[in-house]
Amino acid sequence: MLKIEGLTVSYGARRVLGDVSLEVNSGEVTALIGPNGAGKSTLVRAVSGVIPLKRGIIRTNGIDLTALPPMPRARHLAVVPQAVSLPPAFTVWETVRMGRTPYLNFLGQTSAKDEEIVRLALQKVDVLDLAGRRVGELSGGEGQRVLLARALAQSTPILLLDEPTSNLDMHYQVNFMELVQGLAHNDKLAVLIALHDLNLAARYADRIALLVDGKIKASGTPLQVLTPELISEAYHLHVKVIPHPFADVPLVLPGND
């Protein structure tokens, strides 16, 4: 479980995230939605420790993550970034093996147990048959799944994902989100995923947090957050929300009423 308290991030004088508080429970997928520039990516990056915080504490099970150096922090949370410009020369196996870094010595020597964890991660994400291929030869969807496998190899209880479905087609989007949902529900990971697609969030998230201008505007179940009033105001666009034809979730449609 991940507790974000009073997170404030500034780029110089510009306040990008203001007093953000959020709880991500184990066994749940929490989606972070909001318009461009709201700060979704910034929030994910700040929680992972690559951006300095002006204020705020990030806790997991009582441990203060903000005070930890990169190596121990990486044993608590793993990040799946967008799969753009991955080093093309490494093989899929080599890439996923990098996920074991927090548990290896500085020479990066792996044991048989590490290699087994890598193999399991590849299998879980269904890229085991791509293991020997070079990353540069993969498609966007395959590359994104490899990054998910790498995060899984990190064996962390918390998973952060930064708009992983943005460059994927329909098939890979559904494929990916079902994987992520399974990891939360079956493996009890605490998953925070920044998404731009509201309907993907509705379908696969247990909780949704709406981020607008660096502040959490609303947080709750998909039904609670995906209301016409909240979404129209946040995205400056008239939307209509109807019940999904075959899933028990809301469906958001941009409309002109």
Binding site: P70, V79, P87, F106, L107
Partner: protein, 340 residues
């Protein structure tokens, strides 16, 4: 290519290059005699009269020269691979952030003084080059630093800017000098002017430290290929790691450059060839580039010594003339083209 052990192949290549370097010169020493002399020298045994001249040539001239060239090539190959990994740039070579131009400036300045022919006097010019190179790195590093991080783009820009400044200053010094021009120019083309074991012993500790640290940072360089953010998210303390690699590679380069001048292409091409043949894992690429760089420079040096014998060509010319076509050939033959 990857079925035979890469280390075996590279070491075989290096050994052949070493033997060639010892055998070839204005006097050709046949392999059998060479073998007897080397074993005799190694086990401190005495040699028959007939081999005394050869023995002198080998032990006092060829062997120290061979070892010096070997060390230089190793430094250039290793730091070239490290720079390419650190900057994630296929065009990176050991001189990217100004080590060569800094050293050149130091050497040109030191050459304007007549140093006495003593132990320290002989060391003065190379030492000046080395110190100037290390000062350059310090300067470029400080210029590029942004709070707690060292963005690689800043490093490259600061290095390029300083290089331009140092090079023009060096040219000015050379223009205003009288006679020393040719010596300074010789430094810039790359070549060996000092003989004996002193140069080897002088640079050995710096090379051992620099290359030692680099070889231990293979995994770190692998992680850095994913970018600073992802490397940190995977657990690497990025700023500290980059600083160590930068200092280690620059130390090795500065030491090499101080006695060998600016020899190009080895640091750029050897890592690429090794990457094309044996893969991009830096834990393997670094030691292979070190061995390959040593062998390649030895070969170049042999050619430089024999082509216009007894005159010596600057090694830098041989590496450029030979290196470029060879690399193009390797590039065309490699299966995994495009994955630098």
């Amino acid at each position: 290519m990857s079925r035979l052990s890469p280390y075996l192949l590279s070491c075989a290549f290096l050994t052949a290059a070493i033997l060639l370097s010892i055998a070839i010169g204005s006097v050709f020493i046949p392999p059998t005699d060479m073998g007897r002399i080397l074993t005799g020298w190694f086990f401190a045994a005495s040699l028959p009269e007939s081999l005394q001249t050869f023995a002198f040539i080998i032990v006092s001239i060829r062997l120290p020269r061979t070892v010096l060239v070997l060390l230089t090539g190793a430094a250039l190959g290793g730091s070239g691979a490290a720079y390419q990994g650190l900057f994630r740039n296929p065009l990176a070579d050991p001189y990217l952030i100004g080590v060569a131009s800094g050293a050149g400036l130091g050497v040109a300045a030191a050459l304007s003084i007549q140093w006495p022919y003593t132990f320290w006097g002989l060391l003065a010019v190379p030492l000046a080059g080395f110190l100037a190179a290390m000062l350059t790195i310090l300067l470029v590093y400080s210029l590029a630093r942004l709070g707690k991080t060292i963005p690689t783009t800043n490093l490259i820009l600061a290095g390029v800017a300083f290089s331009a400044f140092a090079t023009s200053l060096t040219s000015l010094l050379m223009l205003r000098s009288t006679g020393e021009l040719r010596r300074a120019f010789g430094f810039l083309l790359g070549g060996y002017t000092q003989a004996g074991w002193n140069p080897v012993l002088t640079i050995l500790p710096f090379l051992a430290i620099g290359l030692g640290f680099l070889v231990l940072n293979g995994h770190t360089l692998n992680l850095l290929q994913f970018g600073d953010e992802q490397a940190q998210q995977l657990g690497l303390p990025v700023t500290r790691a980059k600083t160590i690699i930068l200092v280690a590679a620059s130390l090795a380069t500065a030491a090499a450059v101080s006695f060998s001048g600016v020899i190009g292409f080895i640091g750029l091409i050897v890592p690429h060839v090794m990457r094309l043949w044996f893969g991009a894992d830096y834990r393997r690429l670094l030691p292979l580039s070190i061995i390959g760089g040593a062998g390649a420079l030895l070969l170049a040096d042999v050619i430089a010594r024999s082509v216009l014998s007894p005159q010596e060509l600057p090694v830098g010319i041989v590496t450029a003339l030979g290196g470029a076509p060879f690399f193009l050939w390797v590039l065309r033959k490699a299966k995994n083209q495009g994955y630098w």
